[in-house]
Symmetry: D2
Subunit: 241 residues, 4 copies
Amino acid sequence: MIRVTVWNENVHEKLNEKIAAIYPKGIHGAIAEGIASEGVQIRTATLEQPEHGLTEEVLNDTDVLIWWGHRAHKDVSDEIVNRVHDRVLKGMGLIVLHSGHFSKIFKKLMGTSCDLKWREQGDKERLWVVDPAHPIAEGLGQYFEIEHEEMYGEHFDIPAPDELVFISWFEGGEVFRSGCTYHRGNGKVFYFRPGHETYPTYHNKDVLRVISNAVNWAAPRHGIRQTYGNAKPLEPIKGQQ
Amino acid sequence: MIRVTVWNENVHEKLNEKIAAIYPKGIHGAIAEGIASEGVQIRTATLEQPEHGLTEEVLNDTDVLIWWGHRAHKDVSDEIVNRVHDRVLKGMGLIVLHSGHFSKIFKKLMGTSCDLKWREQGDKERLWVVDPAHPIAEGLGQYFEIEHEEMYGEHFDIPAPDELVFISWFEGGEVFRSGCTYHRGNGKVFYFRPGHETYPTYHNKDVLRVISNAVNWAAPRHGIRQTYGNAKPLEPIKGQQ
Amino acid sequence: MIRVTVWNENVHEKLNEKIAAIYPKGIHGAIAEGIASEGVQIRTATLEQPEHGLTEEVLNDTDVLIWWGHRAHKDVSDEIVNRVHDRVLKGMGLIVLHSGHFSKIFKKLMGTSCDLKWREQGDKERLWVVDPAHPIAEGLGQYFEIEHEEMYGEHFDIPAPDELVFISWFEGGEVFRSGCTYHRGNGKVFYFRPGHETYPTYHNKDVLRVISNAVNWAAPRHGIRQTYGNAKPLEPIKGQQ
Amino acid sequence: MIRVTVWNENVHEKLNEKIAAIYPKGIHGAIAEGIASEGVQIRTATLEQPEHGLTEEVLNDTDVLIWWGHRAHKDVSDEIVNRVHDRVLKGMGLIVLHSGHFSKIFKKLMGTSCDLKWREQGDKERLWVVDPAHPIAEGLGQYFEIEHEEMYGEHFDIPAPDELVFISWFEGGEVFRSGCTYHRGNGKVFYFRPGHETYPTYHNKDVLRVISNAVNWAAPRHGIRQTYGNAKPLEPIKGQQ
């Protein structure tokens, strides 16, 4: 049983009727419903909750955290960001969606600006699978399409991904590294591009399949407890000191 | 002509006679002398200088910054760290040495704890070249040795390097990824393990050769000026909005 | 249920009493017994069988193939090598053990000489986990040891692995990239170093755990059927012919 | 001084007047002229020459080999392919262009099918720089365009590149990993997509700049002479034999 927490800032849904109509239970609600299955136990958490819903208890009880944010990145407290960061390094999986590229937690884990090009003009997006052996691409076709999406274009200022799973083609002439995996400490991180709030992207079955696959990929099992710091020799040393 | 700035916290050298005897001109002085050559123009900077010697002018005039720090990581101001970080993303090369693994700038660029095992017992270290095609390994033998060094052992909590150039063998039974390259934004970063302050490591010709090679590898040339943010379409879009 | 085929040239076991005493059921038998579990269905195949036991039927019914060879690499027919190669690109997992580094199938998949240094002198080997987030390292400690093994030393002439999971320390002064993952087409490949025929390495529980983990990692699920060749446009083209 | 050999099968140019009109000196001639500069010494070689113009003497005198082939891949002798392969592993750089993806030498170095989708319909191609720190992208803009080219589309069945420098956008709806680097042994390999024979691609200044940059990147300097095989211990071993 993989324990998933879907986090959403849940701001657009309250301010904009059109968005609320697309996501009546919030983006978090749509994702939680969309990836529900037997092997997964899901809860949601949002910005307005105490500690943004991400208490020590919740995080310790989370195998994979899914993150959607956009307007309110700056309102996420540094303390919670550090707590999530620490949990990732200890083994929790993290799936960062769309505009989460500019979240504090993603920038902290990447070490770069995470900047990119964007355009809200309803481009068609076609996501090509470039690593068909990857478990995150399991069960997809050679590509899948999203009829209308916000465009994100290169250069995307991220570290070269450990594995590049998807590349997006956009109608307006751009490309984007849309599915990127990273190991950070004991934890796994997956960035997945689609999901602008004004489109019904999280009702798309291919998008949901990718998120489900990523949950399975990112979930830790037994883990390893490293030790750090001053270490006794395992073999005899002739050296001085 | 590559413009290099060698930065050193320059603390141990003032507090400890033995260290001062090994590095009478400071670690920065030894490195600056050791990598001097026709194609390189070198200056040094230290923690105690105004703005730690890393003013906007100095950084804008620097192609490659070399960083040595240990005791005083916390005394480096966040403002300067952010300035260096910004310059790396814009194209400046950065070479982080030894205990610099725990510097603010390295941790910020890596996004992980950068923790490791260590032991000050004069282990013999043998650095094996595992990527012989890499320019940073140019001119070396299959391995080189340092008679006595501080041990650093795995697990080293860093992102998987873009390229792994050296792996160290230690007498006491550990291994370490000792030469790691990363691209971050427009800039190149090289982490190189050797260089504990109590050993004459920066007088070792192989160590100096690696640092010289890394300076050449990390130096930017023409660069690329990205633009980010809202972007007009390059092709017609049928999409709504 | 993952369908595993353990392939072994099964030559040393017949020629040398000491080796036969260590592996009375052959290296393939020891591995098959050692990784037996509920979720895995295992068969073995050996060089002397018709088509080396690797008929089209067997390979089509295999999710993960484990390969041990040493003395008889040249006796494996090119036709079977091509068949295995084709199956890997179509999705079958492949785990290559120890002296399999010089097998035809591994060299064909890697594209390099796969050469290395070696020594049969019973060195102690200590395998350090350098990617603790990797599923192949699940459940291990920070390192594990093999009291006596053949030494393999760098430079190991392989492509830089997609992921480096283990680095070995050897008593005699060498290091080695001992656990290397690769995606090739739809298939996953794992090279794992230990397992010289004169030592009881495949009775070691950590070694067996790694192989079990690798079976789980390498097993394909749904897969993707690519098409290649002449492709019709998905969008209108203004271009001339 | 970097010694470059531009190899071309030189078949299309003889069979097709339109192609001969675009490349009156052959594709090899156009490239040789296009990348000529002070630091480079260039010769050409073609299929019809004895040993395809790639004698031991020529290869030993070559730092970087550029390869264009299409119709006549099967006519390249295995002996010469093995010779080139051996030279790459010993340190010679290799730049494989466009339809060279299906050459014997590229497939041998990659270990995969190197298959892809294609279409000859004059798609517009736009190559985006995704690794702006890479020396092969030096001096380019954020992207460059080729008005009409043959389309190559994913999935491109290659190993994940060590570094991905360019991604192509095609008018007809596809994407492609267009600039891929690999280290193989002591040698560096760069695959660069553009260059169908029916378009004047090798007269395009950005394309030529990329090839020039790649020549500089791929050229070996001092190199390292590895030894392989039976190795004496560097440290004392307690182990048995």
